[in-house]
């Protein structure tokens, strides 16, 4: 699929990215290829995790899939239809909270369905309530976002997206900035949500542990210009819990991903001697 020849088999794809290039040109400076000839597939009903060093074009890719940005070359499609702009079939959860501060949690959640008149207000509120119940926010429905903790805000944001029945969820480092405890809880929420619904998801992160815990499949992105370097199938058992973190298979996959990722990380910092040393990544990966 991509030039390196180590991409995954094409499955019953729902979201396809074909040879997408996105260049940012600033006058007087060399053009920055955020994405170059990037090809990947987010398969239907699978949780695909995109891992890459910071600044490798992950967010640019997410923006293109959500329809906020358009590629300079190549094409992104959903169920074979070219992505032309934003739409409720693709829900994006952003790095930082994007809840509207002037709306209560309930108003935030029902915004989508009532705005597009897909649902009557009462019906939308009923559905929102069901989702808020699931994530334990039922008593916070009339609070403003600023009154919620970071973890609650992210859960509210998940509800706000889910209430629209998206065909695909795009989560761009959604748990960044949360403390370790909250983050682990949120990961468990998300795994459970995915396992209950079987929804197509693209989860973007820079953290290997998070990627491994969540993913059916990990796509490792190269540094600028961004493209998919390696595809790793994560065959850890589902339903998943934190016990998998101690399994032998987990460590094997982890070192495989790390090896690919650390080469990329090193590239983004310039040439570091330690990474030139053959096998430098593998022992480091299995030590802890």
């Amino acid at each position: 699929m991509n030039g390196n020849g180590n991409a995954c088999k094409v499955g019953s794809a729902q979201v396809e990215v074909r040879n997408v290039t996105r260049v940012f040109r600033i006058p007087g400076q060399p053009p920055v290829f955020a994405l170059k000839d990037c090809t990947l597939t987010v398969e239907q009903g699978k949780l695909t995790v995109l891992v890459g060093p910071s600044g490798c074009g992950k967010t640019t890719l997410a923006s293109i899939l959500a329809g906020y940005d358009t590629p300079d070359a190549g094409q992104a499609t959903i169920n074979g239809q070219a992505i032309k702009g934003p739409g409720p079939d693709r829900m994006m959860v952003f790095q930082e909270t994007a809840l509207w501060p002037w709306m209560t949690v309930m108003k935030n959640t029902t915004f989508g369905p009532t705005m597009s008149r897909r649902l009557a207000r009462g019906e939308a509120e009923g559905r929102a309530m069901g989702l808020l119940n699931k994530v334990g926010l039922q008593d916070f429905k009339d609070k403003y976002p600023a009154q919620l903790s970071g973890g609650m805000q992210r859960r509210a944001e998940l509800c706000r997206a889910l209430v629209n029945d998206p065909a695909v969820m795009i989560l761009d480092e959604p748990f960044r900035g949360l403390d370790v405890m909250t983050r682990e809880l949120m990961q468990e929420y998300l795994v459970k949500l995915y396992e209950d619904t079987g929804m197509t998801m693209l989860f973007i992160t820079a953290e290997i542990e998070e990627a491994l815990f969540l993913a059916d499949r990990i796509l490792v992105m190269t540094n600028l210009p961004g493209t998919v370097k390696k595809c790793v199938e994560v065959d850890l058992p589902r339903p998943r819990d934190f016990k998998v973190l101690a399994s032998q298979r987990y460590l094997e996959i982890r070192s495989e991903v790390m090896e690919a990722l650390y080469e990329e990380g090193a590239k983004s910092f310039g040439k570091l001697d330690v990474f030139d040393f053959p096998g430098a990544c593998a022992p480091a990966a299995t030590q802890d």
């Binding site: 959500a66 329809g67 906020y68 702009g85 934003p86 739409g87 409720p88 693709r90 829900m91 994006m92 952003f94 930082e96 994007a98 509207w100 501060p101 002037w102 709306m103 915004f111 989508g112 705005m115 597009s116 897909r118 009339d142 609070k143 403003y144 600023a146 009154q147 706000r160 629209n164």
Partner: protein, 267 residues
């Protein structure tokens, strides 16, 4: 809802009286007047031309029974009110329009930026020539004082809206007009509030100066007339009245802006 019911008046007064920072404030004000009194009574030679607080208090007492004094309050307040409200009515849409539509900004911003540095008082002569009455020209100058401030604040507010807030609304299927009314406008309210707070202060500055130049009534005129008459306690009474008027109007503006932002009153 998280917004608390208002406590009864008695409990609120009681809370005040047991509040340390309230008493610190009272001490500061009392100390200021004491220092003033002492320095006028010969402690500081250059203060000899300044009336003592006691003299000012006497003058104040006289003013309180003078209908002209209250007419001054009324006239200045009305001029501030008209100028300020007109500035909001014209300035808020202009700022939103400039922030929302690039073409509109390209068309209006250069002229706006040319006019903005002109101090409100430099508008006095042309204003007197243009407007049929003095009253209108003073209100217009007051308007100028608040107008540029509110436009700059609103424009900045629209520009600093987090793009994710707009993006997610678009993803949910909101039309451009829905995005404007449901996201851009509420997201700009905090900047509107800041613009109003700054603007109300400027309008009081401007109205007083304009009254001294072009007015026949008002607190500024009252102060100026006291000066012309050589009645120094009257000058101080005028100044204190202007201070009080500004304080009260800032309080009103603050109250209005808190009404507009229920999500900021939650703690």
């Amino acid at each position: 809802m998280a917004v608390k019911r208002k406590a009864s008046l008695a409990t609120r007064i009681n809370k005040r009286l047991t509040n340390k920072s309230f008493w610190r404030g009272v001490t500061a004000v009392a100390g200021f007047f004491a220092l003033w009194q002492v320095s006028c009574m010969g402690a500081l030679p250059f203060m000899s031309a300044i009336p003592t607080p006691v003299e000012v208090a006497h003058a104040f007492w006289k003013f309180v029974f003078d209908p002209k004094y209250w007419a001054g309050w009324r006239d200045s307040s009305l001029r501030v009110f008209y100028g300020f409200v007109a500035a909001q009515i014209l300035g808020i849409p202009l700022g939103l329009g400039m922030g929302w539509n690039r073409n509109f900004k390209n068309l209006t911003f250069p002229v706006f930026e040319l006019l903005r540095p002109i101090p409100p008082l430099a508008w006095v002569p042309v204003s007197i020539l243009f407007w049929p009455t003095n009253e209108l020209s003073i209100a217009f100058i007051t308007f100028i004082g608040a107008f540029f401030t509110i436009v700059v604040n609103v424009l900045g507010g629209v520009g600093s809206i987090k793009k994710e807030l707009v993006y997610s609304a678009v993803s949910f299927g909101a039309s451009p007009s829905q995005v404007f009314w449901r996201v851009v406008l509420p997201a700009t309210i905090p900047s509107i509030a800041t613009g109003m707070m700054v603007g109300i202060g400027i309008t009081w500055n401007v109205v007083i100066a304009a009254e001294m130049i072009a007015g026949n009534t008002g607190l500024g005129r009252l102060t100026w007339e006291a000066y012309l008459a050589g009645y120094t306690p009257g000058i101080i009474v005028g100044m204190i009245s202007i201070g009080l008027a500004g304080y009260v109007s800032s309080g009103l503006v603050k109250w209005v802006s808190e009404l507009l932002m229920p999500w900021k009153r939650i703690f």
